[in-house]
């Protein structure tokens, strides 16, 4: 079952990556990143079956970071939305310069 969990984690991670690549809505991209984080969490939990409680401790930290990231990231999105009246990242091409 550990193997199956790890394969699930890999597919879920790839799915999240694909989402980040193809979506243009900043919030949905954010959700996809959360999906990637969760895929990693699954892998951690699966590995904790092999090595011990530390895997679960790490998942705890990941969740905390995810929470912080969500807070700050969403604040940034709000801030950007105020500027551009959109959250479509195609419109944010200042990185070009």
């Amino acid at each position: 079952m550990i193997t199956q969990a790890l394969i699930l984690s890999a597919i879920l991670f790839a799915l999240g990556t694909f989402g980040v690549l193809v979506r243009r809505n900043a919030i949905i991209m954010f959700l996809c990143i959360e999906l990637q984080l969760n895929a990693v969490n699954v892998a951690f939990v699966a590995f904790s079956r092999l090595v011990g409680i530390e895997g679960q401790v790490f998942v705890f930290f990941v969740m905390t970071v995810a929470a912080a990231e969500a807070a700050v990231g969403l604040a940034i999105i709000i801030s950007i939305f105020r500027h551009y009246e959109t959250v479509n990242v195609d419109n944010f091409n200042l990185l070009k310069w």
Binding site: T17, V20, L21, V22, R23, R24, M29, V89, D90, F92, N93, L94, L95, K96
Partner: protein
């Protein structure tokens, strides 16, 4: 120049005492150099001031007029500074000359001031050499130069560039003095280049005229070709002797170099190239006629009396080397006589008064080359000196004529060419002094007894004959040919000069009714130098009357003074060369190739010249000269001569155009195509990469995320496979 240096120059150098010859103490010789330099600096400063003020006036929209409100100080001071420093320099030179005269014959006096450059074993001192040859040259440069400076005061007084003109002229004299006083080849080269620069500046003096500035450039560029020869000769000399000072080279040449050897021939041929460039000999003479674009006193000073004779001075200075090389000497003489004849033929059909004189100068320089080429170094220098007198006089006279013509045309607002002799005629009634003095010069240049040119030219021709008949003459047939050509050119000289005089001063006045009223004699500041030069052109030849002639009827049975004075005077310089010559050639002939002694040929040549002068004046005097518009185009051979044998066209097609094409090829294909192409290709390549890279810089996060993922994929693939 700092104070100690100046003090050193004034004291006559540190090592003066050690090198001073018996009895002769130079009297402030450095000052002779410094005076024209000081004049240049002062006049140059005034010229800059004037230019600054003119620029300020024109910037606010005004017109800068010299006539309004009296002449400014920038245009009055040069009148005193320019000729003033020259006068002082001449007096100083005269003092030194008298001192040298009193000391008798002695070795050259070399005065070291400081070490100019020292690299390894190579040392060049800033040193001047005072000897009989440089003294003659200094006398000519400062003396004739002073007269021409005086003349310029009148000729250039209304020119806005008056101070600049005198600055250049003073600078020229400074460099010319460096050329003749320098004690080594590098120092001579400094003067050589310096006079070339001043020549360029003065030919293009009225540089707003495209044609004139082009003439300046032409002179400069053609001279560069000769300078290459000078430099190469210097290199070879240094390689051979390890020094470039005159004294050790001239003293050691006979021991170091083989008579007729390849090395000395190489050096002399290189020097010949240099001399041909500076002295306007075939094939590098083309710049001199164009150099007439400069103010006429400049033509008199630089392009007749002094600078162009530098080549002759160079050969005379290197007399030992040339004496050691029969091929080099024959080449010098051959170039000289060919040039003399060739330029004379062109002068026959020119209508521009200055062009005639220019080709005449080229021709006379050819005579000097012939003289130094046949080992008659003293005769070459002699002709150099007399030529400086009468050719400066001719140029200044033509300047006076042009000045009068120009003012007449200016007064009546006519725009014809004031230099075209077809527009003149009958000027003797208006400018008698110019007329008389120019006739003196014409008789002198034509070689008519007892004027200066007769003695100097006759001596050259005679030495050519004597050389051809020498016991072991290297190329007797060739020298006989030289002699015949020289005689022919002498007759042509008489013809074209008489033609010039007749067209300018005799016959009907062709300036027009209105203009004739404005014609007048030149002011005293201009005609006094003419008169002085006329006297010199008359008596100048008497300092070197050959002994044989002096005793004969030509010398009025010994009435003419001083037998072969210049010959003896230059003995310390030419002795070594003559010694070599005597050793190798044996005794010179005492009769011309087809019989006849020196006296006989002197009589023949002067009689022939006189006959040509008389016949020409009679023939041309009767013919009506057409105005330039009505004058029919010359046909046949005359057309070839009028077009100067099409040499300019030939050079244009053979040299200038190919070089232009080659330059264009280098420019368009090699530089712009290959070199710039390579550079641009690198640029385009970088730009292409940049463009390719910029495709990933979409600015949208997704692309970056994609590239990031791709990178992760690649790394994972690399790790696991």
């Amino acid at each position: 120049m700092d104070l100690t240096l100046t003090a050193m120059l004034l004291q006559g150098g540190q090592e003066a005492a050690a090198h001073t010859g018996a009895g002769f103490m130079p009297f402030y010789p450095g000052l002779i150099l410094l005076l024209p330099l000081a004049g240049f600096l002062l006049n140059g400063w005034l010229a800059l001031k004037h230019a600054g003020r003119a620029a300020r006036v024109t910037r606010v929209g005004g017109t800068y007029d010299l006539d309004g409100g009296g002449r400014p100080a920038t245009h009055t001071l040069p009148t005193w500074i320019g000729p003033g420093v020259m006068g002082l320099a001449f007096v100083l030179t005269l003092v030194n000359f008298v001192g040298m005269l009193g000391a008798g014959l002695h070795d050259p006096v070399v005065i070291h001031y400081w070490t100019w450059m020292a690299t390894g074993t190579f040392t060049v001192d800033a040193a001047i050499q005072l000897d009989q040859l440089s003294m003659v040259m200094m006398m000519v440069v400062t003396g004739v130069g002073f007269l021409i400076h005086l003349f310029s005061v009148g000729y250039m007084k209304d020119d806005p560039g008056y101070p600049r003109y005198f600055a250049y002229l003073n600078l020229f004299v400074f460099f010319m003095l460096v050329l003749v006083m320098g004690a080594s080849y590098p120092l001579m080269f400094v003067g050589w280049e310096g006079v070339g620069l001043c020549s360029y500046l003065l030919i293009g003096f009225w540089f707003t005229d495209r044609e004139k500035s082009d003439a300046g450039k032409k002179a400069f560029i053609v001279n560069r070709i000769g300078d290459v020869g000078f430099l190469l000769a210097i290199f070879v000399l240094y390689r051979t002797f390890g020094t470039l000072d005159f004294a050790p080279i001239m003293g050691g040449a006979a021991d170091t170099l083989v008579y007729g050897g390849g090395l000395v021939t190489l050096v002399t041929l290189f020097f010949l190239l240099a001399a041909a460039g500076k002295s306007a000999q075939i094939p590098l003479y083309v710049w001199l006629p164009d150099a007439m674009a400069g103010p006429t006193p400049v033509s008199a000073l630089i392009h007749a009396a002094t600078m162009v004779t530098a080549g002759v001075y160079l050969v005379a200075r290197s007399s030992v080397l040339f004496a050691l090389s029969p091929v080099g000497s024959a080449a010098v003489a051959g170039i000289g006589v060919l040039t003399a004849l060739f330029a004379a033929t062109i002068a026959l059909k020119q209508n521009d008064i200055k062009k005639v004189l220019a080709y005449s100068t080229v021709s006379q320089l050819g005579y000097m080359f012939l003289g130094v080429g046949v080992g008659a170094y003293a005769a070459g220098v002699f002709h150099l000196m007399t030529h400086a007198f009468f050719k400066a006089l001719l140029f200044l006279g033509s300047g006076a004529v042009i000045h009068a013509m120009h003012e007449a045309y200016h007064a009546t607002h006519r725009h014809d060419d004031p230099q075209d002799m077809r527009n003149m005629g009958g000027l003797k009634a208006y400018m008698p002094i110019t007329w008389i003095t120019m006739w003196v010069a014409t008789l002198a240049i034509s070689g008519i007894w007892p004027f200066a040119g007769f003695f100097s030219k006759d001596e050259i021709i005679w030495y050519t004959a004597a050389f051809a008949g020498a016991e072991n003459a290297p190329f007797p047939g060739l020298y006989t040919l030289y002699w015949i050509l020289a005689l022919a050119a002498a007759l042509m000289t008489a013809f074209y000069m008489t033609r010039l005089m007749v067209m300018t001063f005799h016959g009907r006045n062709r300036t027009g009714e209105k203009e004739a009223g404005h014609l007048h004699e030149a002011p005293p500041i201009m005609w006094v130098p003419l008169a002085v030069l006329a006297v010199l052109s008359t008596v100048g030849g008497w300092i070197n009357v050959p002994e044989e002639l002096q005793a004969s009827i030509v010398g009025l049975g010994g009435l003419l003074p001083s037998s072969e004075w210049l010959h003896h005077w230059l003995e310390p310089i030419t002795a070594e060369a003559h010694h070599i010559q005597e050793l190798q050639l044996g005794e010179l002939a005492h009769s011309a190739p087809f019989g006849g002694g020196e006296v006989a040929w002197a009589l023949i040549s002067t009689a022939l010249a006189l006959a040509v002068v008389l016949a020409t004046s009679q023939l041309l005097g009767r013919r009506e000269v057409q105005s330039p518009d009505a004058d029919p185009e010359p046909t046949g051979f005359a057309k070839v001569l009028a077009n100067k044998w099409y040499v300019d066209e030939l050079y244009d097609a053979a040299v200038v155009k190919p070089i232009q094409r080659a330059s264009r090829f280098c420019w368009k294909v090699i530089d712009q195509g290959i070199i710039d192409g390579a550079v641009n290709a690198v640029g385009y390549l970088a730009r292409g990469f940049g463009w390719f890279g910029s495709l990933f810089q979409t600015g949208t996060v997704n692309t970056y995320a994609f590239v990031l993922s791709l990178g992760v994929l690649v790394i994972l693939g690399a790790v696991f496979f």
